[in-house]
């Protein structure tokens, strides 16, 4: 099925809920609809099912305008799986699945129940709930009920499956089973899937494309890698996130950071000399504490480089795997000149970055306060044959202060 939505708008009374939404889906596509609460995702689904009447714009299903279709045609085009289903009335799971045959009812008088029963059973087999057929629907678990509802949707023989946050009430294994089932239907039955999803990582993992809605507008539409970028998520959700790639699948995944990250306090400047992943916690603590942090020479691809990028800390960077060049070293010293405090972390020292220690000595000589963070659990940090340890001893002699933990560090700097 090919779906064209152009210039779709919808409003409740005077408030516009959807503003000029346009997009298309390809045959057999898995499209995720995302966006903050109230961004119009569910309303968009309801416009597709015509439960809400679109005020302006056009929706075409295989080039046929949606508003010319009968209710039953719509129901055999789109089948909906809601967040959850419940009823006070004693339906069996099979009763619920049979409801999916309503759009295909030939006439009220002829029942043709044989065919309906067969199709219902087939749908339950596909969604893995055939064994529940005679169980009471209201006694099933949340996950079982969602499988039954998916079977009902399949019994509708739709061209597209619309899912509205189908996993919110499920535990983590239920969520994965559910999404795997939907993905299987997408693959094997080549059903177009349009799913409202809250969980960004589930969306990133399963969707072909993601449409990100914000305040009724379509903000971005594209493959997960393009859509799920920190700056996009920051504008739409107002949340600072770290985006990484799963090393096994190369799917992106997103980790939220503390939402208070953007402190308004503009504090003293602090320069951090670090590397090899040793600087993350202290940079994070300093940024959260409201200090104006910069970081000394780091190689691109160093994990501290990534941390600093995420924290939006200015970096003096060197090309990957290269020694610190004269230029960058000079840049580093220049930054130290502007900074009253320098923090040296417990970083692995090799010939390539030895100059960062020299920079610390430069700072001491220039009368700056230098703190050396010794935490890290005794990992060997000296790759230059004892030269580094000796140099650190010199630093201490020259007035650098050793501090055991990030917490202590924050206390001392704060005084």
């Amino acid at each position: 099925m090919k779906l064209n939505v152009s210039d779709l708008s919808f409003s409740f009374d005077s408030s516009k809920v959807l503003k000029n939404i346009s997009f298309e889906t390809a045959e057999g596509e898995f499209l995720g609809l995302m966006g903050p609460n109230g961004s119009g995702k569910t309303t968009l689904l309801r416009c597709l099912t015509r439960y809400l009447p679109a005020r302006a714009g056009a929706i075409l299903v295989d080039m046929k305008p949606l508003h010319t279709m009968t209710d039953r045609e719509v129901a055999s085009t789109f089948a909906v799986v809601p967040q959850s289903s419940s009823t006070d009335f004693p339906f069996t799971a099979k009763d619920v699945v049979l409801m999916g045959r309503i759009p295909h009812m030939q006439s009220r008088l002829s029942s043709s129940r044989r065919e309906d029963a067969d199709k219902a059973l087939a749908a339950m087999t596909v969604s893995g709930c055939a064994h529940l057929a005679n169980r009471s629907f209201s006694e099933l678990s949340g996950g079982e009920r969602q499988r039954v509802v998916i079977a009902r949707a399949l019994a509708q023989e739709p061209k597209a499956l619309l899912l509205d946050e189908p996993t919110v009430y499920l535990d983590i294994s239920g969520q994965l089973e559910m999404m795997d089932l939907v993905a299987k239907l997408n693959r094997e039955e080549s059903l177009t899937i349009i799913a409202v999803l809250h969980d960004i990582n589930l969306a990133a993992r399963y969707c072909d494309r993601i449409a990100l809605l914000n305040q009724g507008k379509l903000e971005v539409l594209g493959p997960p890698n393009d859509v799920l970028r920190p700056e996009v998520i920051l504008t739409v959700y107002g949340v600072d996130v770290t985006v990484r790639k799963d090393p096994l699948t190369h799917d992106v995944f997103v980790m939220p950071r503390s939402p208070t990250v953007l402190s308004t306090k503009i504090g003293r400047r602090i320069h951090v000399l670090c590397g090899g992943g040793s600087g993350g916690p202290i940079m994070r603590a300093l940024v959260d504490g409201g200090y104006s942090v910069s970081v000394g020479v780091l190689n691109v691809l160093d994990s501290d480089y990534e941390s600093a990028t995420d924290l939006r800390v200015p970096i003096i960077a060197e090309v990957p795997f290269a020694q610190i060049s004269d230029d960058m070293h000079a840049e580093n010293l220049k930054r130290i000149d502007e900074t009253p405090i320098v923090v040296v972390t417990h970083f692995p020292v090799g010939p390539g970055n030895f100059r960062n220690l020299e920079a610390a000595m430069y700072a001491l000589k220039a009368g700056k306060r230098v703190y050396i963070l010794t935490g890290g659990g005794g990992a060997r940090i000296d790759f230059v044959g004892g030269k580094a340890d000796a140099f650190i001893g010199d630093l201490v002699d020259a007035g650098a202060v050793k501090i055991k933990s990030v917490t202590d560090m924050m206390h001392i700097i704060g005084e």
Partner: protein, 359 residues
């Protein structure tokens, strides 16, 4: 409420609903014939010494104008018992079927056919007919006609109150129904208080009675009742969908607005017809759908015919008891429906919840 949801889904009845429906049909037929033999003049339920004999009654049923029988025997059978049993059956079927539809529309197992003001409207009509003495002037059809008209007007008013921008809001509708019923109930109480000589007539009507079984009532009820039951049955699949919510019904291709309006109209019409002739017979429309739901489940394609058939049998039995339990007198049938139906329903409810009944 959720207790009703727990049902022995593997019961024999649920696996072969058609056989169960046939059983109910046979029960209704048997009930119908048996009830003709029950009455003050016997043979069943009489303490009269010169009661009618079974053979006389068989003859009277078979031959309406039999020469060999006394006029009183054929008159009792053909002018009183048969129309009375038919009327009770029709009213029982109508109320039970309308109750089933209302419970689906309101998605509430506590709904009954009177919930949108049918009974209170009809009561106003019936009591004012009695009070202004129209029954005497215009004839005995005045009361049913006025009751019917007032019921329909009331329902329409409640419907308008519960409809916002063309959409039926069931919660609002329910509350409007309750409010209107309370308001009209107060008026009826006032009318009863000032009814004077008509007090007993009004009281009887309010409690429901088949004491005036006319063939004309039977004919008048027959078509609306049949049509109503058939329409509700034909929309059984959509009613199923409606019970999972209006949006779900819409998504399954059943337009919930059309469905609600049609069902409300049909149920109100059928109920108003029943109430107009026989007064307010409570309990049947609430309890019979429940009993059947416990036995056959919530699928309306089985539930609607089951409730209809059983509702008819139930009310015929209740009326048979009402007209024989006190010698020479009649109890209002509404008293019997509540007295017999209540405990029986509780029994079914408890047994179905403990899981030992229908397995």
């Amino acid at each position: 409420m959720s207790g009703i949801g727990k049902v022995a889904a593997n019961s024999r009845i649920r696996r072969s609903p058609v056989r169960f429906l046939c059983l109910l049909a046979v029960l209704l037929l048997a009930t119908f014939f048996l009830a003709i033999f029950i009455g003050a003049k016997g043979p069943i339920g009489s303490d009269d010494i010169d009661e009618m004999r079974y053979s006389e009654l068989f003859d009277a049923i078979l031959d309406k104008d039999s020469e060999r029988l006394s006029y009183s025997t054929t008159a009792i059978v053909w002018a009183f018992r048969i129309p009375r049993v038919l009327l009770a059956g029709l009213v029982g079927a109508s109320l039970a079927c309308a109750g089933t539809a209302m419970q689906a529309v309101f998605r509430n197992p506590m709904a009954d056919p009177f919930i949108i003001g049918v009974s209170s409207g009809a009561a106003i009509g019936a009591s004012s007919a009695g009070l202004i003495g129209l029954t005497v002037v215009v004839g005995s059809f005045t009361k049913p006609m006025l009751a019917f008209a007032c019921a329909i007007v009331t329902v329409f008013f409640v419907y308008r109150m519960g409809t916002i921008r063309g959409k039926v809001q069931v919660e609002t509708l329910l509350l409007s129904g309750v409010a209107v019923a309370a308001f009209l109930g107060a008026i009826v109480s006032f009318l009863m208080y000032s009814a004077g000589q008509q007090f007993h007539e009004l009281l009887l009507w309010l409690l429901g009675s088949f004491a005036e079984p006319r063939w004309s009532y039977v004919w008048m009820m027959l078509f609306p009742a049949l049509a109503g039951v058939i329409i509700i049955f034909l929309y059984g699949r959509e009613l199923n969908a409606l019970l999972l919510g209006e949006e779900t019904a819409h998504n399954l291709g059943a337009n919930p607005e059309t469905l609600k309006k049609l069902m409300l109209a049909v149920a109100a019409f059928v109920t108003a017809g029943a109430v107009a002739f026989t007064g307010i017979i409570g309990f049947v429309g609430l309890i019979v759908p429940h009993m059947m739901r416990i036995l056959v489940g919530a699928d309306h394609r089985v539930l609607v015919p089951a409730a209809t058939l059983f509702g008819a049998s139930f009310l015929i039995w209740a009326d048979s008891i009402a007209r024989t339990i006190l010698p020479g007198e009649e109890l209002p049938v509404g008293v019997i429906t509540a007295m017999c139906g209540g405990p029986f329903f509780l029994y079914l409810l408890r047994r179905s919840r403990t899981g030992s009944v229908i397995s």
